[in-house]
Symmetry: C2
Subunit: 246 residues, 2 copies
DNA sequence: CGGACCGTTCGGCGCCGGCCGAAACGTGCC
DNA sequence: GGCACGTTTCGGCCGGCGCCGAACGGTCCG
């Protein structure tokens, strides 16, 4: 008899994500923020007791970490690697094919498709655009795997993103992450996170509801100049409430 | 009400790996080869009918692809990305802590720990050693993410591994993959696969039973020279059948 | 101290999913 | 054609898991 592959460990771990409610929690937490147990329960539409049980399992399984404050229990994804894992899995999973039912949901979907956070970095059309522009400007290079160029380091310094501290992290500096909506890569890794934070700090972008992100009035020309792009290339989606296209 | 994260797609996909038998199948198939339904059933210790059902699901879910030949049904992992996913998940899963029961199993474990295939590239002590040596020789570079250096390209050409064709693939050229046994990275990606194949072609390594790989008599000095290492650094584990240490 | 609120524990219900054996189906071989 | 063998389909059994509501324990606030 040959060596038997014991699938129990893997199966037990995968089982954590094999429940729609728990999976939904993880997807919700992909926004990178900490949520309370009650918020997650309401957002998923289950009883508080049910959510409590699920969270306990996810924490014990190492997918989530918790932080108790007073009578609140905050949870968030344990680390970027978990976020990456959830993204990878979700990206492979067949989309449940749930077309938006209401106008409100449709416009929220459009906002998310334009720009959103993917755990701690930027995704959506804007994320992909940024990725492409960084390659075009020679900040990143694809030959032999995605890498930051020397010229890129100084470009980032000009923008106010010091690269050296990021190298110290155990996390990969640059990484590509397949975008769900665009089906093309955007920038992840420590640099992707730092860049996303910096854009928010500069006021070029700001958080909307949920995971959505907006390019601000001031941010649009500023980002276009930094990337040597025409501002029209960064055009946001048609206004919410405008003429519906279908 | 905010946008609800629908976890059904993700959950359904994760459920494929959430069963010990199915997970075991995937781990077994990590050797990169195609197995018949019956072989997998025996190896997992379940009835043929049970295995058949599981395989159908895994294929429908896109994790496996099948190839029917006469009265046999061959299955293998759908693509390298799936293998990567399984590796990532298995790497995070808590080890079931199953100490080897028999001497035979223990020695098989030692052989696997020394060198094995991880889907289509080299893993184990030898895999990690190779990874380190490639970094030390400047074939690979870690600054700004793992990348192949220009010097590395010619080093590979000398070894008989043309890099250009690999760049054309949609698969990342280089990628690090966390080694289960060593808990340190080894080389994956298109280059990791090509290098593994080349070593086998050169006769420097050869396949053992299951996923295990051996460094051949001729391969040891040859590989040591190519990597500018002392041959003793590539020493295999103590012989099977030798004095047991416990 | 009493009330509002957040979270957890407990018991119980219902369903889904994994397992098997028996029988049917197809293929290859004699 | 007849037989052997790999695989699939079909019932049926059983255990586990997700769900809820009710009761309980903390925490914050007035």
């Amino acid at each position: 008899m040959t060596t038997r592959a014991d699938g129990r460990g893997l199966a037990g771990f995968a089982a954590l994500l094999a429940d729609p409610t728990r999976a939904g929690f993880c997807l919700t937490l992909l926004d990178g923020r900490a949520w309370t147990a009650g918020e997650l329960a309401r957002s998923a539409g289950v009883a508080a007791s049910t959510a409590s049980d699920h969270l306990t399992r996810l924490v014990r399984g190492g997918l989530l970490v918790e932080q108790r404050q007073g009578r609140h229990r905050y949870v968030r994804l344990a680390d970027p690697a978990v976020a990456q894992l959830v993204e990878d899995l979700a990206g492979r999973a067949p989309t449940p094919a749930t077309p938006p039912r209401t106008l409100r949901a449709a416009s929220a979907g459009a906002a998310l498709a334009y720009a959103r956070t993917c755990y701690d970095h930027l995704a959506g059309r804007l994320g992909v655009l940024l990725y492409d522009a960084l390659l075009a400007r020679g900040v990143l290079d694809l030959a032999g795997g995605l890498a930051l160029t020397p010229a890129g380091t100084s470009w980032l310094a000009d923008l106010g993103v010091p690269v050296e501290p990021l190298r110290a992290a155990r996390r990969p500096l640059v990484r590509d992450c397949l975008d769900w909506t665009e089906r093309r890569p955007h920038l992840a890794g420590a640099l992707g996170a730092a860049l996303c934070t910096r854009l928010l700090d500069l006021g070029w972008t700001e958080r909307g509801t949920g995971r959505s992100v907006r390019l601000t009035r001031a941010g649009r020309p500023a980002l276009a100049e930094a990337l040597a792009l025409d501002p029209s290339a960064l055009a946001p989606p048609p206004r919410d409430g405008g003429p519906a296209r279908a």
